[in-house]
């Protein structure tokens, strides 16, 4: 054993010195490299997870907005159709009313004209009757005078 120690130059103080070197390295690398890198990796993983969650939320929001928009559009189209249909109905009704009023008025005018014509005819007849009567009287007087 003594030979072995001598052949390999084993010295416990050298071993301690190398162990101290290693210990220093563990401490320094742990403090400056492993710790910060692990924290950084964890932080980045968190950020990536957040980013993915954000993207999913944004997508959901966008989809919700799209479906809302299409809902609004179809509602608007529906309302427009209703409005157009009602307007057409109203237009038709009004036209019919106007036509009917016009027809009524036309009929009224015709009736009035008929009445006025009848009155004129009656009056003319009456006038002519009086004229005939007077002419008859005059004729009679003339006959009498001559005789």
């Amino acid at each position: 054993m003594g030979d072995l120690v001598q052949v390999f130059g084993i010295d416990w103080r050298l071993m301690v010195a190398q162990a101290v070197n290693f210990a220093v390295l563990v401490a320094v690398l742990g403090y400056f490299v492993y710790g910060p890198v692990m924290r950084l990796l964890a932080e980045r993983a968190k950020k990536i997870a957040e980013g993915i969650a954000d993207a999913a939320a944004a997508k959901e929001e966008r989809e919700a907005a799209a479906s809302e928009r299409s809902g609004i559009v179809s509602e608007a189209r529906h309302q427009a159709e209703t409005i157009i249909a009602r307007a057409q109905d109203e237009g038709k009704n009004e036209r019919m009313t106007i036509v009917k009023q016009a027809q009524d008025r036309a009929a009224q005018i015709v009736r009035d004209a008929d009445l006025a014509a009848a009155e004129g005819k009656r009056k003319a007849l009456k006038d002519s009757e009086a004229e005939v009567a007077r002419a008859a009287v005059l004729a009679a007087e003339k006959i009498l005078r001559n005789s």
Binding site: Q6, V7, F8, G9, I10, D11, R13, L14, M15, V16, A17, Q18, A19, N21, F22, A23, V24, L25, V26, V28, L29, G30, Y31, F32, V33, Y34, P36, V37, M38, L40, L41, E43, R44, K47
Partner: protein, 245 residues
């Protein structure tokens, strides 16, 4: 065990540059200090340049750490345990791999000397380093077992009197637990030491060409050995924190 053969000098003991008091300053210790120093400086600037939207370098570090942490968590099957042991396991890999790669740089070895002794030498060619890492790893593994199960329950894995067979298995477990010190330290030592010798020999036979593929191979070996040490530590921690049955 020094062999003088055609100018190649191979010794198992680390090169001693000098002594501070009676404390030997070895080339591998100096190299270890430089590696730790470089990593500390890098860590400091890395922490300051950390950004939410990362550059390429940061992505590489983040990916490595994230992957390693997920793996540790998967093996230990517990978030709390993973958080507790991850820095330790990750640093084993970083330190050993960085030291091995640094050991392949041209100025390590005999190219840069101080009073004819190499100033830098691959850290894991020194059994002091690999044994120190093995001791630390085994201590942490035992600590993990005791912290998770308590002294009595954890101890019952090794010493129990349920049956003769149970007792024998416990003793074998105890021995294999201690044998980890040897396997941990000599696996790493053997790989890196052999790699260094291999390159030295190749340099001697056919400089400029032969060492290139070997260096590429040693880069892989250096990183893999770091990973092996870290992974074995992880698995042994998992075994230690698992309830005895």
């Amino acid at each position: 065990m020094a062999a003088e053969a055609g100018g190649i000098h191979i010794a198992f003991a680390p090169y001693v540059l000098g002594n501070v008091g009676s404390f030997p300053i070895t080339a591998t210790l100096v190299t270890s200090w430089v590696v730790v120093g470089l990593l500390v400086v890098w860590a400091f600037f890395f922490a300051r340049s950390l950004k939410m939207t990362p550059g390429r370098g940061q992505v590489l570090v983040e990916t490595t750490i994230g992957f390693a942490y997920d793996y540790v968590k998967e093996v230990l099957e517990d978030e709390k345990l993973a958080r507790r042991y991850f820095p330790f396991i990750m640093t084993i890999f970083v330190f050993i791999a960085a030291a091995n790669l640094f050991g392949l740089l041209p100025f390590t070895g005999h190219a840069l000397t101080f009073h004819d002794t190499p100033l830098f030498y691959p850290v894991n060619t020194d059994l002091n380093m690999t044994l120190a890492m093995a001791v630390v790893a085994v201590l942490v593994i035992e600590f993990a077992g005791i912290a998770a199960l308590g002294v009595l329950k954890y101890g019952s894995k090794f010493v129990n009197f349920h049956s003769v067979v149970g007792f024998c298995i416990g003793i074998i477990e105890l021995i294999s637990e201690l044998a980890r010190l040897i396997t941990f330290s000599f696996r790493l030592f053997g790989n890196i030491f052999a790699g260094k010798v291999l390159i030295l020999v190749a340099l001697y036979f056919l400089p400029y060409f032969l060492p290139v593929p070997l260096l590429v191979y040693e880069v892989a070996v250096g990183i893999i050995q770091g990973a092996v040490f870290a992974l074995l530590t992880l698995f042994f921690i998992k075994i230690a924190v698992t309830e005895p049955h």
